[in-house]
Each structure stands twice: as structure tokens, then as C-alpha cells.
């Protein structure tokens, strides 16, 4: 099945489904929110409640973000090479590229 056909079948079937939300959890103060999964909920309030029930049953987080899945804009995997490969030959962007005399010490 091609992607567009899949999407179409999916959109049809989802007409009566609660929308899909992506869940991001901050494990503890000082850390980033991290994507941890998705869930269906009728609205944002319910999505927050369910995110708590589904993804933080064991104190996995202190803060939750939710965002409608259809609102996420993502890069296309087919563009992976075009987008990310050019960085491969830019080794001078890394500190290890530079060999300094040992006397300099930690820099």
C-alpha cells in the first residue's frame, strides 16, 4: 500500500475516532521533555488526564506536554540524505578535530 492510500484509508476509518495526540514527558527538573508515545482523546483536557494515566504510573515525570499528532510537521525520511549527510564532512565543527600541544592541558 502506498503512503497516500494508507493515509486515505486511515482518515476514513478515523472519522469516528477520538483524535490522536503525542505525549512528551519531562522526567525531572532540569531535563528536556521527551516523546514517549501517543494516545487518543476527545480534547486536550482529556489528553492530559490520559497521558498521566498511561505514561506516568510510576513517577516517570513531573510535567507532560501533549500535542495533536496532525499538528506535527516532520521531515520526510526520503530527504534524510539531502538534509543530514552534508554534515558528515564538516569534522572541523567538533573539538576533537584540533590537535593542540599537551602543555595546553584541558581546553
Amino acid at each position: 500500500m502506498t503512503a497516500s492510500k494508507t493515509d486515505l484509508a486511515n482518515a476514513k476509518a478515523q472519522a469516528h475516532e477520538w483524535p490522536l495526540w503525542e505525549v512528551f514527558v519531562r522526567p525531572k527538573a532540569g531535563l528536556d521533555h521527551k516523546h514517549c508515545g501517543s494516545l487518543h482523546a476527545a480534547d486536550s483536557k482529556m489528553a492530559l488526564q490520559l497521558a498521566r494515566e498511561v505514561y506516568t504510573r510510576r513517577q516517570e515525570g513531573i510535567s507532560v506536554w501533549i500535542v495533536r499528532s496532525d499538528q506535527i510537521v516532520a521531515s520526510d525520511p526520503a530527504d534524510k540524505a539531502m538534509l543530514f549527510d552534508p554534515m558528515e564532512d564538516k569534522v572541523y565543527r567538533h573539538p576533537t578535530f584540533y590537535e593542540l600541544p599537551p602543555e595546553v592541558g584541558h581546553m
Binding site: 503512503a3 484509508a9 476509518a13 475516532e17 487518543h40 476527545a42 482529556m46 494515566e53 498511561v54 504510573r57
Partner: protein, 337 residues
Amino acid sequence: MYTQAMDTAPKEERAAIRNADEVVAEQAFERALDNEGFIEAKDWMSDHYRKTLVRQISQHAHSEIVGMLPEGNWITRAPTLKRKAILLAKVQDEAGHGLYLYAAGETLGTSRDQMLEALHTGKAKYSSIFNYPTLTWADVGVIGWLVDGAAIMNQIPLCRCSYAPYARAMVRVCREESFHQRQGYDALLTMMHKGTDAQRAMVQDATNRWWWPSLMMFGPPDDQSPNTAQSMRWGIKRLTNDELRQKFVNATVEQARILGVTLPDPDLKWNEARNGYDFGAIDWTEFWQVVNGDGPCNKERLAERVDAWNDGEWVREAALAHARKQAARAAEGRKAA
């Protein structure tokens, strides 16, 4: 809780004509599989891979959801408040596992409703183990010990499976699963070491009834699993059914001894040469009977799921209607402002 390898996938059909882009994408896909890499949701994948994963993941999700029923049977009758809280937490975990897995399945382009429809119409399978009844409180402990124990054996290798959303869901599931097995074994230890003779007999009886169905959880023997090689190549299976089953038996014998119960198999004995336990023949007729709908509780379990879904319909619709009304009001408010 866990999935069951049943190898009912149709043989791979290849599209005869493909364009050049697709050939390149397919090569990248095959290379990722060869190198034990990951396939993400939006990456190119073959139809057969996609279909097999939808089948396996949804079947796994259904097992988690149906798996709540046998144990849910005992929530209101747990012997103490402590055991009740534990059992509630465990059953809630199973619901969570079902949800992680449905979400992983949805990334493959199948909707939640489509998967549920397949379960409710009997098109999709779930693990045969949940079609057995939970007759006593000891059954709850034995399910934790043996059924979740078998599930862990099955699921740990899947944390490294090639389909990344499935692998990530399995990492989460496995992290929570260990509590399930330990709480079951702990409940049984309490009955065996601090209980009455009647309670000890209850544990033995439950062990007798769940032992063989637990061994069947690993699926048919290797010589009757023609698609194992394919699944291994795709990394959605890491060890064969018989290898996992053997691992489980080897681990369980000592646990049974410490508990003080006998495993109901006169042929069970250590084999030095194989460095493992030999065990008796499994009744595969019973297995296929249960898988194909004729187990002790198949009809009851499915009916309960279908009823729950139908009874919840007005709630799902009301929530959606409420959300739409709120959104419309908010939009009006913005216009007015």
C-alpha cells in the same frame, strides 16, 4: 502481557513492477534489516513486513486487553486491601500495555477502530492463555508467576525488534512486567509458607491447571512454524518457539521447588547432555482447539469485550460532541473579540 507466535502469515507476494525509487527504498530497507538496524514508521517497508507487523502487534495488543478479564475477575474479591491495590495496579498496567501497542500498530497505517473491529468480529487472534478460567485466588498468583513469566521470556527479545515503534513500546512493557511476575510469586509464597493446607492445595491445583497452557503460550513447535526464518530475518522474532519454551522450563523448575509445588509433568527431568530439562509432550490438539475458538472461555471473553465496546459508545460520542462544541464556542469567542 504477551503475544503468541502462530505463524499464520501468507507467503510473501512481490509486486511485479516497481519504479526505480522504490527499488532504492527497498534496498535501504533490506540493508537496515541485514545490519540489525531499525525501521521507523515513515520509512519505506515491504507490504508483507507491514502486514505481518500489524498482525503481530495488534494480536499482542488484544492479548493485553483481553488479559485484563481473567484477573479483573478477582479485583473485588482479593483477600486483603494490599493485594487488591496490587492487582488493580497490575490490571491497569495491562490496559496501558494494550494502549502502547495499539499506538505502535497505528503507526503502520491501521486505525485503532480497524484493529478493534478485527478483534470483535473474531478475525484477529489473541493469546490462547486468556481463554482459561480463573477459578480461585491462587489462579491470580499463578498467572503472575507462570503466564507473566512466559510473557517476559517472549517479550524481552522484542525490545530489539526491527520495527522501532514496536521495540520502544516493548521496552516500556518489559520495564513494568517484572513487577507482575514478582507480585504473583509473592502472593503464592505467602499462601505456601503462611497459609493453611487448603490454601497450599489451592496453589498446587492452580499450578496444575496453568502449567501446560503456559507452555503453549510460546506457540507451535519449530517444525510446525514455517515462517520462523522470515520473522527472524525481520528481527520480530529473536529466538524460536522451542528455544523460548526450553528457557522458560529451565527457569521455572527451581522456582517451583522454592515455592514447594510440583509441576504436573512426570517426564520432567534434568538432562545433563542437553544442559536443560526434558519435559513431556504438549497436547497441541488442545492448543489449536483454544486458538480456533473452542477453549473454556473464548465466547465469554469476546462477548465481554464486545459488550464493553458497545456500552461505551455513547461515552465516546458524547466526549467528541462536547469537544466539538467547546472548540466551536472558542472559535466564536475569538471572532467576537
